[in-house]
Symmetry: C2
Subunit: 328 residues, 2 copies
DNA sequence: TTGTAAGCGTTATCAC
DNA sequence: GTGATAACGCTTACAA
């Protein structure tokens, strides 16, 4: 059942049917006929053919560093509805934290075959990333990191860490920091800097061994870093962690070493994932508006794909410190 | 740059180029010329046009109940590589546990527009599911549930629960069970039945209040069910949970009520997700081969899409009980 | 307002 | 072995 058949049944040319489906430039009478036939037959235009003809795929590629991450899934949830409402289907491309695969996907998607727009949930940027992004012929929005010259939506990690550290140090004076790789500018560098700025503000000097960087984003990384911290003999009453997962690992480890949380040691995280309210003790953390940032990115992309402005926009999302039981 | 241009540059007809790309029915000499031109230009055929012509999209639709689930992400990981190797791209369709959305996606994907094959990571089956699946014109594999008449790959939840319950009750005699919705046959009904069978085997009678069903798959569901259990005054030394997350919630709750795990109460889960080895105490659980089941499902689907056998196959995956510190 | 006709970039069917 | 040529199902000038 194709457009020709509909045209035949409605007694018009297929061009008229096409117009009915698109411009709408059709007389009331024929419009009626066509509608009737389409309703009866349940005809749906072939997107394949539309795509070939128009060059639009109605697909957006979303590149994610991993499936099964609280922040990623909230971002994706945030964009899903808007894309669907605008007739876009999502192709999720999972790179499993392989930066090279990320670049490959950018190239793949922007090859003349693929999608109308790309959302890149970013972690680190290599030269290859920048090149691929700049060479990219279709609208692209970077999510989760700030990138000069590209439309991007990101969290305000510097101030978030600054504030949560300040908040925790109202009841502590010997902080430590457990961070992730510094080449991840948002989650690594900015969070670290925010922590340091808060300490400086309070005139607290941090012994070098109280800062451990380069961890993975996982619970066991948190466990291991905390163990390292304890074994190094560091004197600590507050552990500021770069992510919730690291904080969970820290709490577990502290417990096994007989330290009470928050009585002996306070712990804070970042992200406010589903677990933070159900672990024991509940976790003081930064609520990042991941869902909303996903929506925001989708808005920008849809706008660009519909031929809207092509100039880059930067959106810095707000945050909120959620005080719970892991701090005093 | 299209096939015509390549043909012109290579001094052959575009039909020959097409043959070179497909059948390979081309003389050595021209084959050489064409290869040279293609290498130089970096020409890649337009999948859009191929799709229009051949009716193949080289896309598979994977319907998942939620992003951000350990089991789902492992299944997806398992299938990703094989699909890629076979030239298929994955469209992940996230339903967020909306059974209706699942049916919609099946219909969407099997409409003449969309994909070459479907993998449905299933939870529950309504009549609408069955109908949509039966009406489905393209190969489909059900993953995570057994379904008569469809190719499916699933875990052996009955025996898994039977075995882990038996194992835990070597050091306990007053078991309770925290389960999920029974209309989820695998994770709900089968796990429940496996538990009951083990109790029966040991001649243990279970007070009704020791069995709580219908929970969500989340940590806080586990917390709440455990609280309900404790508040009901149930006398329990072993809590068998239908999922790891429920077990985490149970452990947290028990701790808050001053019960020691495993000294006072043993806890077991199902799934063996990333957290099970980092929580404290580490979790005794069933390791399900989710990754491998994803791969298996992908194999069956690729086979079917390549015109292999169309008869339904059922694959029941093995499992393994992992004894850790949450049991005695 | 409508229809005719020319593509979009392939692959499949023929003759040669 | 190879090359015309006709589809695949649609959109869009352009002419009517």
């Amino acid at each position: 059942m194709d457009i020709n058949e509909i045209a035949r049944m409605a007694g018009v040319s297929r061009a008229t049917v096409s117009r009915y489906l698109n411009d709408g430039y059709v007389s009331e009478e024929k419009r009626h006929m066509i509608k009737k036939v389409i309703d009866e037959t349940g005809y749906v235009p072939s997107q394949r053919a539309q795509t070939l003809r128009t060059g639009k795929t109605k697909l957006v590629g979303v590149i994610i560093p991993k499936i099964s991450s609280d922040s990623v899934s909230r971002m994706v949830q945030g964009m899903t509805k808007l894309f669907r409402e605008n007739g876009y289907q999502i192709i999720l491309a999972n790179t499993d934290n392989d930066a090279k695969a990320e670049v490959d996907y950018i190239k793949l998607f922007s090859g003349r075959n693929k999608v109308d727009g790309i959302i890149l949930i970013a972690t680190v940027f290599s030269a290859a990333h920048i090149r691929a992004l700049e060479a990219c012929s279709i609208p692209t929005v970077v999510l989760g990191q700030k990138l000069e010259g590209q439309s991007c939506v990101f969290q305000d990690d510097f101030h978030a860490l600054y504030e949560i550290t300040l908040s925790a140090l109202q009841h502590g004076s010997k902080p430590a920091f457990l961070g992730v790789r510094e080449d991840d500018v948002s989650a690594g560098h900015q969070r670290h800097e925010g922590f340091m700025a808060a300490c400086k503000e309070l005139d607290i000097r941090i012994p070098q061994k109280n800062v451990i960087l380069g961890g993975k984003f996982s619970v066991d990384a948190g466990y291991n870093m905390t163990e390292e911290l304890i074994e190094s003999g560091a004197d600590v009453d507050t552990i500021v962690c770069a992510t919730d997962n690291i904080a969970f690992g820290a709490i577990t480890c502290l417990r096994e070493y007989g330290r009470r949380v928050p009585e002996d040691v306070q712990v804070t995280g970042v992200g406010d994932g589903t677990l933070s309210q159900v672990v024991s003790p509940t976790l003081t953390t930064v609520h990042h508006y991941y869902r909303e940032s996903g929506l925001e990115a989708a808005k920008i992309l849809v706008d660009a794909m519909n031929g809207g402005t092509t100039i880059a926009r930067e959106v810095r999302m707000g945050y909120e410190v959620r005080r719970r039981r892991s701090t005093r």
